[in-house]
């Protein structure tokens, strides 16, 4: 029987390991997907790879899987962070989903001078990352941080991690990435309206920042995030 359902579980995975289910997980597997005892699902916890598990107990408010055998090792993404200014709800959700699919290791929402968002639902965004990993065959879930000011993030920045800055002033062709060194990187995407003049001046002065233009058309922030992740993965990441 083909195991199509993939479930993220925050539990240790090993052969024979019993995996108790939460109420929500039981509702999904038995109420929505109508699985019966003996059915198989794929499970992962972001650390131990992907495992085949079998339904060994069903119930309305709970149930249990039993972990059987590992089907795939964990595949870590490259050491790439996505730093972005949250925008409207649906598009912020979308950015987290796409960053997970495209292999960002960590997702950092930031407040910039032109960011309207005062706070984010970190738990909801983290759940989006989990769901994206479930749906897209991932074995790793990027951590979504809580909202923090860009200025504070930059003040404590490790200069060994370079920043690919998607710069609306349109200097720097994407080809500049070809000469860039691999290693830890972050992609920085601004809000609608871009970065303030003060932020632009600060970013321009940082030696580890590489400004890159994403073409002659104005991109929405969510489009820019996907485009920048793509360019980075294709030149410095694991798309080779």
């Amino acid at each position: 029987m083909d195991a199509k359902i993939r479930l993220h579980l925050d539990q240790h995975l090993a052969p024979g390991q019993p995996l108790p289910l939460t109420r929500d997980q039981a509702h999904y597997l038995f109420g929505v997907m109508r699985l019966a005892e003996g059915a198989r699902v794929l499970v992962f916890n972001g650390r131990d790879g992907e495992w085949l598990a079998e339904v060994t107990g069903t119930g309305k408010r709970g149930g249990e899987l039993t972990c059987r055998e590992r089907t795939r090792p964990v595949r870590m993404p490259p050491d790439l962070w996505l730093v972005f200014a949250p925008i409207k709800k649906a598009r912020t959700d979308f950015i987290v989903e796409k960053a997970t699919e495209l292999g960002a290791a960590r997702i950092l929402p930031v407040q910039t001078d032109f960011t309207n968002a005062e706070r984010i639902r970190q738990d909801r965004l983290q759940a989006h990352a989990v769901e994206a990993a479930e749906q897209c065959g991932g074995t790793y879930v990027p951590e979504v941080e809580d909202l923090q000011p860009l200025s504070r993030l930059l003040a404590g920045w490790n200069p060994a991690r370079r920043i690919l800055w998607c710069d609306e002033s349109r200097v720097g062709a994407p080809a500049a990435l070809h000469g860039a060194e691999p290693g830890p990187w972050a992609i920085l995407i601004g809000p609608e309206g871009g970065f303030s003049p003060a932020e632009q001046a600060r970013l321009r002065a940082l030696p580890f920042v590489l400004p890159v233009s994403l073409g002659p058309r104005i991109l929405r922030a969510d489009t820019a995030a996907v485009a920048a992740l793509t360019l980075w993965q294709a030149t410095l990441g694991d798309w080779g």
Copy 2:
């Protein structure tokens, strides 16, 4: 006064040209945006560039702008088509929006062996392309074709137009694009579940098809569309 509103009008644009408004346009400008006589908006028709226009008549069911002066020439995208298999409604809308932002010249939805969609709302998708061009500063709107079978499209294909095939079998690094010749191209994105074995064999046998892998993670069709448009624009398009 700053003209922030951009409106696509299917009318000839020239200095002094009166531009009668439809009921929907009048509702948007006067009911929603509360513009009064003398207010300025930017208009474009996809052919004559972007123009400054002035409100010279307002009404609940109509009104008129008068075209003043051209603010930007038309900027045509490169000769790039996006051929894709429609998926769920929201994600299909999203693909059309992103293809417009990223500079596709023409958008062709196709039925493949694994496509569920029997038909599309071509008019609604075209309206999405118009809206994306309005919001993103574009002066060109790609034409969205009606749904057609992929097999028929390929049967009449001009071999001078190369196809970048986003191939889930994961052969061909994105770097292959660097050696590719510029000119007319199309990007081909499959549905969830990919292409059937028969379709894959047919595509593989076509000399103008370049298969390219989009990395080791499984991408949703909408992510794949944005990623492929990005790679093409950055290597063969107008992002240089």
